[in-house]
Symmetry: C2
Subunit: 205 residues, 2 copies
């Protein structure tokens, strides 16, 4: 008998550092598997198919959508992004913990389908820090930064649906906290087979 | 504004090593406070009043019982043991995490009064190990050991009411796991004031 893997959803506003948290977590927790998203956008330099994303055509993506193959999907600036349902399900069924790094809108859709997932919201220490980080990335226009900050104020309202809140002040400390959450969740009564094993042992006495 | 402290209940069968787990946890987590029980038995060598137990007279104990001053109490071989309600409540109210080391029967009574407490059941790796440990203590007669092992088979039925199960195979590993549970619980949405603080910040924007 094997326990199901845990579905761990890491979300938070744009610029909070979700990506770095997940990368460090995956490096430290070898048993954790990242769910690779499908996208229709072109690979950026250094990105590898099947590692960063599965790069597929718009036709493939639309066919997948039609077949209800995505846990959640979004269109951003004309490109599609989606989390393949089957990959997540297969992983969990074979007992592997599965990590989703996802925006709060996507997380909400995943929550509807996996209410027992472990939902972690990464927060900036404060608004100023988030604004500073968004500007520091040098990837967004002033208008986009304004939009992202405004979106964060909306996203905040969804936080009560999350199981855990982690403030990302120091990245190493944040990763340590998320690891503690994973360790603790594995010890939860409903996530362990220890009790079932014990009952079987008692039956034999 | 200050968050309430957490009530952490560590339970498990006699001989599983609850005491050692709690002692090591208290040494490592300076903010954690052990709830000191009242007892009517005489202090053993090395035991200090107010540290190991509050040693009180039978008359005092019975008066406290009458005043509903105990979260739970038990009579063991003619001696009374009780967990003072006020001390636990005061601790929690001032935001201090409070540790109870308690037998499964007592834990059940605490659960009724503090359903939001964090209940951790410490298990032996298997029955044989528990039996071996009970014999190794050299404090119990054969009859008492039999009774304790039989009691454990009854206590097992209550395990589903616990939040976490930790198998005490290696003591350092067990303490590490319980610490992860405490760290994770502090990050739970319902145990943090981060969200309230954030909403206050948004209001000011």
């Amino acid at each position: 008998m094997k326990s199901d893997g845990l579905l761990i959803v890491i979300s938070g506003p744009s610029g909070v550092g979700k990506g770095t948290v997940c990368a460090k977590l995956l490096a430290a927790e070898t048993k954790l598997k990242l769910s690779v998203s499908d996208t229709t956008r072109k690979p950026r330099e250094g990105e590898k198919n099947g590692i960063n994303y599965s790069f597929i055509t718009k036709e493939q993506f639309l066919a997948n959508m039609k077949n209800d193959a995505y846990l959640e999907w979004a269109e951003v600036y004309g490109n599609f992004y989606g989390t393949p349902k089957a990959a997540v399900e297969d992983n969990i069924t074979i007992g592997r913990d599965t990590l989703l790094e996802i925006d709060p809108q996507g997380a909400l859709l995943v929550k509807e389908q996996y209410p027992d997932g472990i939902f972690i919201f990464i927060l900036p220490p404060n608004f100023e820090t988030l604004e500073h980080r968004l500007r520091g990335r040098n990837t967004d226009t002033e208008e986009t930064i304004r939009k992202r900050l405004h979106l964060f104020q909306e996203e905040i309202k969804q936080i009560p649906m999350y199981d855990y809140i982690v403030v990302n002040d120091d990245i190493e400390d944040t990763v340590k906290k998320v690891k503690a959450i994973l360790d603790a969740e594995h010890l939860r009564f409903e996530h362990t087979l220890v009790y079932a094993d014990l009952l079987a042992e008692v039956d034999k006495l």
